[in-house]
Structures are given as structure tokens and as C-alpha cells.
Amino acid sequence: MIRPDQILKTVEMIQKENLDVRTVTMGISLLDCRSGDAETTANNIRDKIRNLAGNFVSTCDEIGGKYGVPVVNKRISVTPISHVGAGFSRDGFVKLARALDQAAAEVGIDIIGGFSANVEKGISQGDAMLIDAVPEALSTTARVCASINAGSTRHGMNMDAVARLGQIVKETAEASNEECGFGAAKLVVFSNQPGDNPFMAGAIHGLGEAEAVINVGVSGPGVIARALERKIADEGAKNLGLGDLAEEIKQATFRVTRCGELIGRQVSDAIGLPFGVVDLSLAPTPLVGDSVGEILKILGVDKIGAPGSTAIVAMLNDAVKKGGTFASQSVGGLSGAFIPVMEDSELAAAVSDGSLVLEKLEAMTCVCSVGLDMVPIPGDTSWETIAAIMADELMIGVINSKTTAARLIPVPGKKAGDFVSFGGLFGESVILPIRNTGESNRFVHFGGRIPAPIHSLKN
């Protein structure tokens, strides 16, 4: 039998510290759903998802119940739809988005990812049609998420695509004007997008993946925060160095990851699909006690955004990767600490009191797992400025061989300091001010490509 103190620690982790499996995501290849017309392809997509994922939600719930660890989200990622619908018109792509939405509803899934394209080096005809379809697709469906990869360390950044996506982000927000621009919360622009990420809105089932696969996203900011608090209370802050705290994060992440892998493998066995990866991310929710920002404060900054915040995010991100990698047989996805403003109550509070500004947030994203995530900005921000913010963020990833992404929400009719709430997991925040708006137009209008970075002389 496991030692009593270990049992109590594990029980505490589950009962009091919000330990859960944040998402089990079924990746499905839709390449074989292609046909000569959008209508038939849409039907094929619905049939395939229904066949593969019919009992997915009930299986996850059953296994979560058996182990006493809830699987909070059950999601589906699919082959980037630009590959499935290449040759169709813009309207054809909208039809495919609706088919995804219906299929997700039928199998009881709240979010499906993969209305996506990779335009890191150039935009094909199919990619262009899909991108044009994004505003309508996202504003007329409830469950579909879109992601576009516009840069990579191997190929550099496609600024023509980034410029177009600046317009698309704005159009998408405006198309969902009645929901405060919520459509843009379902659109992420990436560099170095992974093909096995189970987290939304950027989940896709990459071209190098199997026919269908089960990926798991673990979370647990609450577990890490409580472990750190306990460590500090037991041993005294004076007797601890940051190395000790990093070690505590590693150990807590180890336990969280083990738990996620156990549940994920059980689901994959029960459904009869191969197990893909565990994504070791610390993904906050707006709930109190489930915040990454809270961890930053425990680690020593009184206000998030104060000097030191970037160093702390870097240490946290690294410790999470180290603990999780040892715990899991196969790790992938984004794997690190997310800092999505609207989805994290502490980050949102820091924006509200002015201690966290866009520029500092951007600095922190250089060392976090993804990027500028769920950032509400004024609705009148020009598309050029949006494109330039995305270019900055994506280039951080391109140069540093890491994934970065931008999920910006220009909230229609709202200005900096106004409040926006999407409710539920998408959270709420005050809108961040943007400085120097309109001062990047010449850069964005150049277009073209930023060349791939050199892979030596790393300074």
C-alpha cells in the first residue's frame, strides 16, 4: 500500500486543489472526407466524427468517475480544414465549419478545433478561401475554433498572411458584435504551431498524425500554488531559495502529469484509439484558486507585471516541463504555463489596476508556453496595429524556436479601461490600452516575408 502521507497528499490534491484533467482531446484525420463538392464533404465529416466520437464524452465521464478525477473538457481536433476543402469556395468552407459545429453538437462536444491553415511561407488558393471564410464561420457557429500558422523557425514569417489576418481578426470581432467580439476569442494566429496540441482554440490534428488519436491536457495551477504555499509555510520563506521552490513545482507537476496520463491512457484503451501525448500545460480558469498569476505572486512579485515577473514565468515554465517530462512517456503540444489574460482572474486584476501592460505581457510571453492569449483590446484598433502586434509576438517564436501565438480580441465599441466578459471558461477583463497605435502602418504595408532566422551565432 502507498504510504499514508502520500495518500493524504494525493487526496488533498484532488479534493482541495482543483486537480483535474483539463482536457481529453480526440484528434481525427478528415483527409478521407474530401469529395468533389462541399455538401458531400460536409456530410462525410459529420459521419466520420459521429462514428469515431459517438461514445467519447460518456467514456471520459465514466473513467473520470472511476478514478475520482474529473475530465473537465472533452474536445475534438481535426485535420486543418484547408487541406480538406482546398478547391472549394469561401461559402464551401463556411459549410464545412457548420458541419464541424453540428458534428460537435451531436457527440456532445463544446469546442472543436481545426478550422485551420498553415501559411507560414505562402498562401494557397484553399488557404485564402478558408481565411476569407473565418469571420462568417466563427460568428455563425458556436463550437468551431480557427487557428492559422503564419510563421516558423524553418521558414520565417509570412507578413502578407499576418497583414491579412490583422484584417480577419477585426472582421471576426465585428461579425460577432452582439457578443462583444467573441468570435475573435475562437481565432488564434500561431508561429511554430504544434500538430498535437489538445488545448483550444489552437488544437489541430496535424498532417503527421495517425488516423485518430487521444491527447491529454493536464492543468493544475491550483495544485502548484498550494504546494508552494505549503512548502513556504512549513519551512519558512527565509530558509528557501528559488531552487527549492522550482523543485517543489517539479514534484507537484510530476504528480499532476502522472494523473493525466493515467486517465488519458484509460480513455484511449476504452475507445480503442492510440494514445498521443500529454500536454503539460498549466492552464488557468477564471475560478479563484485556479490561476497562474497567483503562482507568480507566491513566487515573489506583489503585482503581476512588476520587474521580476518575466524571470518568474521562465522559471515556472521550465520547472513544469522538467517535472512533467519525467512523469510522462510521451509529451507534446504546448507544454508550459499559459498566461491568458481573460481566463486568469489574477492576470485580469493586474490589467485592471494597471500593473500589467501589453508590453510587459509580451515580454512574459517570450518565456511562457504560448503567447498573447485572450487579450482584449480597444475595438477601434486598426487592422495594421493588430497585425503588427501579432508580428511581434509571432517573431518571438520564430527567432527562439518556440511556439508563440496571438489571440487578440478587438472588442467592438469598447475602449481601453472598459470591461468585457464572455462568461464561463473564457472569463473577463478590463480592455488593455495599446500605445503607439497606428505607428506601424509602413511596416505592415511592406508585406512579403521575414526570412527564416540563422541557426547559429545564437546570442
Binding site: I2, I7, K66, V69, C259, L262
Partner: protein, 177 residues
């Protein structure tokens, strides 16, 4: 043909108990198969199983182990080979915590017994006046875990205990490398 005996030993803890017992068993040609020991409140207890040659009697073993010391020894001969219950998919850990009072363990174990649930292992922990017990349960006789959990909730309400049931694999996954 060998015969297997399960032997339990209890005595006030001191250096040399394990050495005395195992030497005594060895002198009779006994081969140790498995052994557990524990010390509580200064008292040592040990349970072991050993295979002896067919001509060794229970009395001989008892005499060899108790001679010249104050050990409390019980011996049970068993037939056939002994197998430990395998790690099963039905092993759950029940954690029960409440204000320390008389009869807590009895209450919980009776609840299990009434449902045909075997307790495979049990440990307890007292922290000031809060008593926590951890029971490793074999739920293979339970048809519906959900029903069992519902019964646990109502048992928790009537007994004032806080009860958590989790699958044993979860504890192994989070605590073993």
C-alpha cells in the same frame, strides 16, 4: 513435500527479534517466502510465511521461536501454495476522516463488511483530535461503483465522517516512479 506455515510474532521492540526468529526458522530448514513487520507504541509485530520440510511440526517451530525469550508467537499451517491477492482493477483507497472518538474504525469496517467488501490494508493517522484512516479495499464484489459511492455519501452524512473513495491506480501513478 514442503509445508507452508504463516507465523505471527509480537514482542516489545528490541534489537535482535528478526534475527532470533529467522535463525530459528532457518535451523529447522524453513525457507522464508514473505515477511512484513511494523512497530507501534514500542511494540514490534511481524507476520511471515515460510516453507518447512514435511517432517517439521507446528510445535517444533513454536518451541524453536519461543525458547529463551518472551515472544508471543502464533502459527497457522496452510495447505497448498500461498498467493497474495494480485493488484486488481478493483482496488480502491477509502480515506475516512473525522473528529477522534470511540468506534470510528468499527463503524467504517462494518459498513464495508455489510457490502462484502474486503479490507486489504488499513493505516491510520491522528493529527491533534482529527482521526484519519486509509483503507485499501477490494471492490470486486461491488457491481456498481456509483451505487457504492452514493451509499458512502449517506454513510458520511450519518456518521459525520468525511469520506473519499479513489482508485488505487491513481495513488500509484502520482507517488511511484
Amino acid at each position: 513435500m514442503n509445508q507452508t506455515m504463516v507465523i505471527s510474532v509480537m514482542d516489545r521492540d528490541r534489537p535482535g527479534i528478526v534475527a532470533d526468529v529467522t535463525e530459528g526458522i532457518g535451523a529447522l530448514g524453513g525457507n522464508l517466502a514473505d515477511l512484513r513487520e511494523s512497530v507501534l507504541c514500542g511494540y514490534f509485530t511481524m507476520i511471515l510465511s515460510a516453507a518447512f520440510p514435511a517432517d517439521v511440526s507446528v510445535e517444533q517451530v513454536k518451541q524453536a521461536l519461543t525458547e529463551g525469550n518472551t515472544l508471543n508467537v502464533s502459527i497457522a499451517p496452510t495447505e497448498g501454495s500461498l498467493t497474495e491477492p494480485e493488484d486488481s482493477c478493483h482496488a480502491y483507497v477509502l480515506t475516512a476522516a473525522g473528529q477522534d472518538r470511540v468506534g470510528l474504525v468499527a463503524q467504517v469496517s462494518r459498513f464495508c463488511c455489510e457490502r462484502g467488501v474486503n479490507i486489504l490494508d488499513l493505516a491510520s493517522h491522528v493529527d491533534s483530535s482529527r482521526y484519519t484512516m486509509m483503507l485499501l479495499l477490494d471492490l470486486s464484489s461491488i457491481h456498481s461503483i456509483e451505487t457504492f459511492k452514493t451509499e458512502l455519501v449517506s454513510f458520511g452524512n450519518t456518521s459525520g465522517l468525511s469520506l473519499d473513495l479513489q482508485h488505487n491506480d491513481l495513488f500509484r501513478a502520482t507517488n511511484e516512479i
